[in-house]
Symmetry: none
DNA sequence: GACAAAAGCAAACATATGTGCTATATTTAG
DNA sequence: CTAAATATAGCACATATGTTTGCTTTTGTC
């Protein structure tokens, strides 16, 4: 089908794609016409009709504004629908869960298919205390903010205003925090310890090689 | 600033965010009004004005259609601009670099700020041969397709139609492939070995916890 | 050159969308 | 309770955008 397109029609199609990509919303007929330096909208409109007849362009219902889109690249089914910004936190600071934005290093867009749709932030790992879990210094941990976690999950917790990464095990009347580094001993905490607070659980890990 | 928002105003803001997220373009005033079951656009319009005064909402120039957007979440600066789809390959198969799409498990959107803008695919790690590099069975490796790589980089290579993950070192007249697992010996390959081919180098790692 | 398809311009028109009024209910703060 | 702020409806109007008509120019083909 697309092999029957004229050069001009390809250019228009490509312009629509780029506009949606860069701006984040579809163009109007006039905006397209201006992009090609045309003084009238009629010509562009005719091209758009042809592209629809040829089955490569579509639009939402009726004659709504900014409704043209390339078939197979519907806005919302693309990156915008799955990617979500996640703040990178250099350090977990007491005073959460306001997520101390002072420590914010920036955002990273993550695929919600991979990391889920719940509240997430990225925590940069410092030190080698998790080396037995194959977590390295400098890695980013995707942390889902939650207070409920199950046995064996890796959690981020505040212990007397100090943040730690540990495996979580709930025992009779206490909580056992198991370090992954075998040279370190587990920590036991009474369930009602006021200095203990769970920030969230680790859902993913990101590492970058240079 | 945002602490002075009324519940209704928060809801509207959240609706704008979700609309842009799901549809891929900003809503009209009437579409917003309908979302809240209102018969008039006047109320919604007033709320939008208030949100602008409070500095959380903005719009493109003039009075264009579908131009409202949340400040800090401008469409185009968001997911669509940085996220890029990367195919997940279950196994590196001989016959690359056509990237045997049969083995394709799907796509994952990755942030180009993190993974770069070059050709990338994701390779699922099988086995524990890279455990000393803290790479686990099931991890995803972000592989940049290239033939040029420097000493010490982790590469994906084809050796007699078999894919391996190794550290790359170029020596005088041969290439040394160093496994990360200390129980395994390095492999030496003449530079002109026809059965040897570099697929690409590892730029990142993704792990998911359950 | 004749011809048809594609592309362009100008001007109008129809619909979609943004904005501005008035009036009335509902909520909130004091 | 009262007053202010907020939210709603209904209507009118201005601008933005989509669509159509008629004509001219360009382009490629026979």
């Amino acid at each position: 089908m697309s092999d029957t397109l004229t050069p001009k029609q390809r250019q228009v199609l490509e312009a629509i794609r780029r506009f949606q990509q860069e701006k984040g919303y579809p163009p109007t007929v006039r905006e397209l016409a201006e992009l090609f330096g045309q003084l009238s909208t009629a010509g562009m409109h005719k091209i758009l009709m042809t592209l629809q007849e040829k089955g490569v362009l579509s639009r939402r219902e009726g004659t709504k504004s900014r409704s043209y889109h390339i078939i197979g690249e519907e806005p919302g089914e693309g990156p915008a629908g799955r990617a979500r910004p996640c703040p990178i936190i250099g350090e977990v600071v007491a005073g959460m869960p306001e997520l101390a934005l002072e420590e914010r290093e920036g955002d990273l867009y993550l695929d919600s298919d991979w990391v889920g749709k719940e509240d997430i932030f990225l925590l940069r790992v410092r030190g080698h205390s998790m080396i037995d879990a194959d977590i390295r210094d400098g890695d980013l941990l995707a942390v889902q903010i939650t207070q409920s976690c199950r046995n064996g999950e890796i959690i981020i917790a505040l212990l007397d205003d100090e943040a730690t990464v540990k495996r979580f095990y709930k025992e009779k009347d206490r909580v056992r925090l198991q370090p992954e580094n075998q040279t370190m001993q587990p920590i036991y905490i009474p369930i009602d310890d006021p200095g203990f607070r769970i920030i969230g659980k680790v859902k993913g890990l990101l590492r970058r090689y240079h």
